[in-house]
Amino acid sequence: MANQQAIRADWSLKDKLPGLLAAGLIAMALGGCARQSIILVPDPEGRIGKAEVTTSAGKQLLEKPGDMTRTSGRSNPPSAVTTADPAFIAATFGEALAVEPPPPQTFTLLFETGTTALTAESLKSIADIVSASQRRSAISVSISGHTDTTGSDKLNDALALERAQLVKALLLRQGVKPELISVTSHGKGNPAIPTPDGVPEPRNRRAVVIVH
């Protein structure tokens, strides 16, 4: 009895086979449709980079503005590279691009040798930083202190931090909210102008303020 049912079930499956095959083909065709699109575009400063898109079946390199590849499952290779239609970009990414945060604004303040005294010119930029952070309704103001390569590491780490702290104090006094401000010391480790050790370089004696 159980056997007969099994046989009958088997037959009914065979009856449906063409339908199942068709459904399978449709599913495969759908699976073959692009599920993901990856497009390389210039950044806000017009620079173009590179990206490599890899699935378990192959990879594609994007290197020109508008280069696009599409993927349809991990086990299929990414499509050959085509050029994305600007209308497709606008329609698909309009929402995301509309809320894209503006690029950060960077200010560099210079100091007199071995001191936390801002140069007269740089003292004036404090007002610019304050107005930029108000205009943008900034969510963060990060200050990093730096030195040139004269003096010991220990001295430079401390001096770089003091420089950053001084800038913080000036910004606080002008009404920038304390919770926005973060301070780091890079010592002599991140020079604007790389120099050998022991070289006085005014452009490296600085604090960099990045307003987001």
Partner: protein
């Protein structure tokens, strides 16, 4: 046995406040929000808000309609269109120690992704994962659409 158990308990009492006091490191902020958006953190869903801090491991989501722009501390900038989901799986940006990591997982939706200093300083440490593919990004801006 009893002594070691109570010693363990005391050690826990001492260490627990120390752990609780250690605030998680802010790795970025939400800069812009339109419509519905949320952050999922340690299994809890928090409403998204402009200026909110982001931590490693956060999963951020937009509804429909919804959109959100975030900036990480290395200047990595990502914006999400509606019905999108992104996980900030790993992140380290410590230039002084030469420590860098960036692992993003994009689950669904539309994204605009502008690379930051991590990609500039240590490109091999940055990785973006989508359901189908791994993206090795060497700068500077990518648009990604992931249909459900």
């Amino acid at each position: 046995m009893k002594i070691s158990a109570s010693a363990f308990f005391i050690a826990m009492l001492i260490s627990a406040p120390a752990i609780a006091q250690q605030p998680p490191e802010t790795i970025g902020h939400i800069q812009n929000i339109e419509g519905l958006a949320s952050i999922q953190r340690d299994g809890v869903t928090l409403p998204g808000a402009a200026g909110a801090a982001l931590y490693r491991g956060d999963r951020i989501r937009t509804g429909k309609p919804g959109a959100m722009g975030i900036v990480l501390t290395d200047d990595t900038t990502i914006s999400l269109g509606s019905n999108s989901e992104l996980s900030l799986e790993d992140y380290a940006f410590k230039p002084k120690e030469g420590k860098f990591a960036l692992a993003l997982r994009m689950m669904k939706g539309t994204f605009s992704y502008i690379t930051g200093q991590i990609v500039k300083l240590a490109p091999e440490t940055a990785r973006v994962q989508t359901p189908d593919a791994t993206l090795a990004v060497r700068g500077t801006k990518l648009l990604i659409e992931i249909k459900e």
